[in-house]
Amino acid sequence: MGNTLQDDALPNNNTLLGADELVLNMGPQHPSTHGVLRVKLKLDGERVRGTECVIGYLHRGVEKIAENRTYQQFAPYVDRMDYVAAVSNGLGYCEAVEKLLNVEAPPRARVIRTILTELQRIASHLVWLGTHALDIGALTPLFYCMREREEILKIFEKYCGARLTTHAFRIGGLQYEAYDGFEKDVERFCLDFERRIQEYVDLLTGNSIWIGRTRNVGILNAADCIALGASGPILRAAGVKWDLRKAQPYAAYDQYKFEIPVGTNGDTYDRYMVRIEEMRQSRLICLQAIEKIPEGAIMGKVGKVIKPPAGEVYHSIEAPKGILGYYIVSDGGTQPYRVRIRPPSFINLQALDKMVRGHLVADVVAIIGTLDIVLGEVDR
Amino acid sequence: MMSPAHYLFLSLALFLIGCVGVVTRRNVIVVLMSIELILNAVNINLVLFSRIFGDAAGQVFALFIIADAAAEAAVGLGIIIAFFRNRETVLADEMDLLKW
């Protein structure tokens, strides 16, 4: 993907001592490629002249598996793509199949889905923030982030028994009713969380080293974002106010008031600020949502055997990392004919080459971190 | 303190080894290092005589020689890097052009 190493037309004598460029293999076993990503860097001294991403080390053939599973059976598999935001994956898949079946989840289910998905967004952003700060050398935020994420995972565990790959939603609604004290747990977390965000902000935002490491690093402007299909916080940091939660509301997002934070520069610092602000907004959404969760059923009218009519559907949601799309083709049977997933990490990773050229090795790490990729999703 | 002759022999030995290095090695960097060795041998003599005559002048000159060695190394290595960039070699007998 991206540009290969050969097409860089820099003259050879431009390098240190005129010697050959150094090809540095970063990964697949490297502390900060966030999994089994392998990046071949073409270096001149420490300056990056070109990159080549080698992916597929975590390929499990999720899309192919879908063709041999019933619609319900496939639902847990999607959790294993972006495993730090499993709930969002499940939401996208369930809504896509619901669209195919032409049913709607009842309002209560949609609100609970929204709450869980927004909590998941916070959890995903917390993992991103911790590892990103760790990549740039700040050790402490990671543990603070994990501490707060733990609270969210506890809520998940209480709700559905699983912490990471939750399989929280079912096609047509929810299987589990919200447990007693669910609202209280969420509220307590949200009320506490504002103070926690302030802790990260105190540690990082004003720190001149942090600013030096992130500002003007890995700039991706709006035009490039759109050309590359980059979405999510990366796109918004470049100044494009595009968020599917507002643009084509799903679940219960149309009922809540929230802002879409945007950046100006499209650099790493802007992406950091956008994600921090998104955490705040998610918190607000959760607080609004728990105020009144409508009563009623939690499961829509879906039969035991899901047999959608022949046809195709594309449904996309705003996952924490960007636009997550499911394209499902049905031939009228109990198993999908074809499932194609648009994973945000995979598309966003394409921007890596463009972003790192001319930067230093240390910036590569910062940029991989700011892209917020999950290799489970990139490789599927 | 040992007798002066011991030090002179030591210094002579180092000087000789340095000379052999300058003459025999083809790698210019090692030749430069041999020259450093020779300068160092000279330093031993200077310090020895400074001690014998109880005068700091010898040590002052040893200091000057160290400074000189630093200057020489810097310029010499600069030349080597410039040369390597152009000819991709650091071997003395391949440096056979007056101009390139």
Binding site: A19 | L14, G18, T24, S34, V47, A69
Partner: protein
Amino acid sequence: MLDSILFYFFGGIAVIGAALMVTSRNAIHSAVFLITTLLATAGIFLQLGAEFLFIAQIILYVGGIMVLFIFVIMLVRLDVALHHIRFRMKNLVVTIVIAVLGAEAGAIIYYARKLPGQGLFIQNVAPASNLTPNSEKLAQSLFTNYLLPFEIASVLLLVAMVGAVVMAKNKKRSEDS
């Protein structure tokens, strides 16, 4: 007693290190052996009561010049050229150099033994207290009698530094950065 032990210890290391430096094929090994020799020489300086020179040798030679050497060796990737380097004993020049200088050494030994009274083997040295405390003496000498040479040396170093930077700097690089 202690003196002679120290002398033979340091002297032996210096000579062995120097010999290994000249004969080893790998330039980095040469550099390491030269460092050994230089440290041993520093020991000799210390034994001669020149403490300041001892530390100057370590800081300047080993900490400065040799690091420069190692740096350059690493940059020019000598592994490519490694196969060409061999120690050519047959070379006529070597024999001549060794012969001439060896003869000189022999002559020194010969005449030194003949000189009566103040020969090189006789311990006729000024008292060590003349040179202590060493660094103050050295500084006084350096900044009074030898001030001009000192300044010239500093100018020399400056010139060398500028020259080295000019030569080592890639012109194409300097244009775009």
